[in-house]
Point group: C2
Chain length 366, copies 2
Amino acid sequence: MSYLKKIKEPTLLLNEEICRNNIRQMAEKAKWNECIFRPHFKTHVSLEIGQWFKEVGVKKITVSSLSMAEYFSDDWKDITVAFPINILEIERINRLANKIQLNVLIESQEVCQFLDLQLTSKVRAYIKIDAGNKRTGISIDSISRIENLVQKIDQSEQIELFGFLCHAGESYSAKGKNEILLIHNDYQNRLSKFKAYFTKDYPDLILSIGDTPTCSRAEDFTWADEVRPGNFVFYDVMQWIIGSNSLNQIAVAMACPIVAKHKERNQLVIYGGAIHFARDSRMHPFLDKNIYGLAVELTEKGWKPTKHVNYFTRMSQEHGVLQVSDEFFDQFKVGDLIGILPIHSCMTSNLMKKYLTVEGNWIQRM
Amino acid sequence: MSYLKKIKEPTLLLNEEICRNNIRQMAEKAKWNECIFRPHFKTHVSLEIGQWFKEVGVKKITVSSLSMAEYFSDDWKDITVAFPINILEIERINRLANKIQLNVLIESQEVCQFLDLQLTSKVRAYIKIDAGNKRTGISIDSISRIENLVQKIDQSEQIELFGFLCHAGESYSAKGKNEILLIHNDYQNRLSKFKAYFTKDYPDLILSIGDTPTCSRAEDFTWADEVRPGNFVFYDVMQWIIGSNSLNQIAVAMACPIVAKHKERNQLVIYGGAIHFARDSRMHPFLDKNIYGLAVELTEKGWKPTKHVNYFTRMSQEHGVLQVSDEFFDQFKVGDLIGILPIHSCMTSNLMKKYLTVEGNWIQRM
């Protein structure tokens, strides 16, 4: 039976072949650069998809919360929680640190002191460095603050100093490959010097980097020790707009029933809104409009692009409105299914909680 | 034990007293107008909170999906699904129509014909009217299309014609009470005439309206038969910006751990991001910035406003960044909890899936 026959309401489709290709390409790039490939699992958050990473040799992963680390802790024994450690969860930290190699992020003396007193098992810690993203972390220019924290952690009984972790979040504002590469080169220049300064005294410290745009488009990561991209497992329309991937590298699409048609404004109304997709949006590069996704045609084997640009233009809690060409409008009737490449696959998958592969198998998520 | 001691990670707090007041006030306004009060349950989606509506005499409800109707169908026997009916879910529709009084939305001949052939139990139908919102429904100006559909449904065996349903979605773009009232008056003028036109021949047809802004601020609903607001149960910062409510009518707040502090830019980093709050935002009326929420101080009994405006300025998957005053900044340390009034309570509650009352009790949600 075709997977399409199973769909009665908004459903997140997964093309396993595209997804495995995305995983393989990134694993190969990391290998070629002799970097540890520690993929971020916050996008798929699935034990089953995790196995596809094992098949290309991945042994270490990144997650964004302790609950996600717990979910993966039977299958994965070396997990980095790439989020400033939340000391209120000390019991959870101790349970996990007793079970697996847990790696945490520290950016202050206070947290270091707290952990040193409260930890019952050893953890490794990265110092979170802010090289311009200004979300969190110690500024790369505050060398003395970083040195003080390096010394503090180095003296700790329970915390082993592992290295520095940095996220080039600026790449999410890039418009095209060239801008991504400029950001990458800037990070490379500054972080290489930064690391060299510390490895004089601490030769074993590693430098961990990695966001999907730079990891997808840049080639040289030999200056880093570890890469942690996540979104590339599925990609999405936002990453396509940024310049990270082509549309045919996107491994997920939503299938949504059409519930109404409005010829006077060439709009299709779908069952599929903010509780299915999330309300992320992005300016389309040549439509000059904010979009929530792009329509595709569903086929027995997955989906294919449409001739004109047909886009997701308006969203409420359960409703979606697609702005489409005359030709596309006439192709569909109420009760048909339509495909949508989501603008932000991490958020859509977080809401949908499971995947239907185009072979018709359900894959669970945390 | 204070509810605060139970919190280790982002948690959605509910002030039951404020919530019950919001419910009581709206129920009284509907009663005074001699309207059926059919509240929309898409915001709280909780059997337990539903009971608070029963206590003020509510007997009929609105939901936005068939799965939500199923969830409430043991407790509520008259449910309107205020969404263009999705014919792919015909089996679910038949199961529900056999169990409860199910009321659906129709806006095309094709769907009417499909249901007439496929329904195994009777349903009531509203015709969805678009009076300017342009999301979906038949335009209020297309009188002959509406007349044709009225006749079609009137001839149906399985579908009883119930009335017209309209949503003044424009009110969500209002800036203040006056703009809300202008929209209300415009709808009142046009819908009163519209209804009068049809009740000559069909005297029993009802007119169902109701969005939170107009239902909160307007007084005269005697021209309608039924009101269906939903968000008012909690309100939120977006509704405050629109002009629907005061800040002290907001019945929910997120409690989030502080995980980092950045004095150089007066920012607190919290554990709490797009997977907890959703990424809705709105322009603050005098900050001239898009915000994701407003900070409050948590107390043993709930929360209280802060002296200056401290706001949620940046969000990623799990991180939130608060922009705060000097005074507020110095008040907190890493590991403390902070309260945030969410920008859009429907979306936040959909992600959080449960509530912790400020008395320390957990309330479940669908």
